[in-house]
Symmetry: C4
Subunit: 202 residues, 4 copies
């Protein structure tokens, strides 16, 4: 089996999950509103939720891209692990809506927990994909770069723990937990654009 | 004609049908809920429905992948049979919602039947695709592996009958029928990850 | 420019437009229904609309596939004509819902007209794509098969007229017009599977 | 990293964002309408909004195509800039609905501003993508055509300023601003089909 078709399917799910996020913003504005300008300002959490989740899905896509560049063949268990990851990614629009609608109300804790569990599960599947493929170079390309493989292993190791920690914070303070999810996305963007570049040069 | 473009279209439908499943979960939580945490616990059937149908579509995608790897050319009847399969796959989100919303009410039987008929029709089209392509090696690659071809034939033969049986059970007990649909998905996951691997080694 | 990326974009639109058709069926069943079985039988027009429009989009996809197999390069006007075609294809879910909801009421004529105008516009763009590419072999592959090119020209010439005629019938009888749209889809399926095969052999 | 997978993901987002536009038209017609024909005539702004935004997304896709044809490699910052562009493109269905629903009411100014800010942001990301890739030929193919590169630079330079100007007009007259957004799309179509062809010949 060739990895190409997995990429087509995965990219489809990434693209659709990201694009469906706009429906969360759209439903915030009913057909009949008194003052459209005011309503559009009031729903600012929707915009932040849209950007954070879109960028989060985008980062997962970039990382998937990085992993697949080292993969030479796939087997059925590898495909199943990918379906697990995509199942979590396609779930993201739902907790995104919960968080943006409820973060100022009593429902903030429940919303933050659902978002956090989804992100943690995605990170666990992502790590599982990588370790299943890379341990013993099981599915790696014959000409894979050991230095890049080691770099990926080092940078993906903390992922599930970071998201788990941010999720557990929700039991103390949902607001801090939600801010952390945004901060993690910002961190990954900076890390991708800055450290990522220096790593490629190094 | 080359098989590549069929795969792009098929992967698109698989990816969208799977990703749209989240809308079934999303609509279970209205904009104004008293206790978000409780509501999120009450809608647990939605989560199971989401996972079962996502994995089912994923398994069909993996199997389609396995079949296409043996295909060397396509003709118009083969494309039409694939459109029939995709028509059934894209239908899955609808009976998934019916089952998760009605399995505890009088509508359980009707919901289970629609789910079962959809799955059975998908399995019939899948078998038709394979037998049309493989009988007399009509559309197979010149370098196809006869052992793999025989293995696919053997493992796809029971598919429609299994789903038909689970569907007919709904006349006696809708609940058992619905549990069977979940069990079939679990079985295919285990079969894919475990037996699938040993088959590749064997 | 290479034709490959046009195919990725086009296949995406075909796949999404076809898969979104399920939303038309889904919205016919509210969350709280008294007798689910009865409701599911009452909405039979939705199923027919789903199948006819899914197959129609599938046939357009197959024909697009056939055309692109003869194309060697693309230019910007060719891409724009394709965007015009895709704009019509992505519109199809809307008139499909109108027809299935209104064909037994006063709105049947308006619904049939919108469906017909959409289908006719799609057929016109399809013809424009082919004639722009094939006249003087402007965009054809250097090794195109003149017999296949002539065959495509002959079989696509009547498309817009057939749909225009079926559309105009709606002024006399919307019901006949709607039946004709279904019949055209059935005809194309038969033509694809039967004549299509003999043409490939001939 | 190869540019191919960026194209698959980007084409997915372009295709889905364009296809989702039909939902804006669809929601304008409720399930129970007295006079379907009249309703379908009354919602004419929806059709124009659908066509303008579909074509706008199509033009961005064509231009992305043109840029990628000159790209030989991608890095993570380039991927992030593309995610920024796609984030804006996937946002377009929302302001499209706002403009078509509110352009005859008090909300016209707010709607025009959201549409304009989205289009301007997309144009800024598009320029950033190109300048990041082309300055010093950072990511260009080794065999890129300097004349085409110079042509792209010249034709994309004014994009953000044109959309910014049309957006600012909304403070004086929302109607003129909205008409300008339509006119820009028409201009790009004409420019693509006519000047585009002569540029390719020249």
């Amino acid at each position: 089996m060739s990895p190409g078709r997995l990429e087509t399917f995965a990219d489809g799910v990434f693209a659709i999950a990201a694009t469906l996020l706009i429906l969360n913003v759209d439903t915030q504005v009913g057909e009949h509103v008194d003052d459209l300008g005011e309503t559009l300002l009031e729903i600012w959490p929707s915009y932040i939720g849209y950007v954070v989740s879109f960028v989060t899905i985008g980062i997962i896509w970039i990382n998937h891209h990085t992993v697949m560049a080292q993969i030479g063949k796939v087997d059925r268990l590898f495909l199943l692990l990918n379906i697990g990851l995509l199942l979590c990614v396609a779930f993201i629009p739902f907790p995104t809506r919960l968080v943006t609608e409820h973060f100022r109300s009593d429902g903030a804790r429940a919303a933050a927990l659902v978002y956090g569990v989804t992100a943690t599960a995605a990170a666990i599947f992502f790590s599982a994909i990588w370790f299943y493929a890379s341990v013993g170079a099981r599915l790696l390309r014959d000409d894979h770069d050991p230095r890049i493989v080691k770099g990926i292993t080092r940078s993906y190791l903390p992922g599930p723990w970071i998201y788990l920690a941010a999720t557990l914070v929700a039991f103390v303070s949902p607001t801090v937990s939600i801010v952390l999810f945004g901060a993690i996305a910002v961190f990954y963007v900076l890390e991708s654009s800055w450290f990522g570049r220096s790593r490629q040069k190094g």
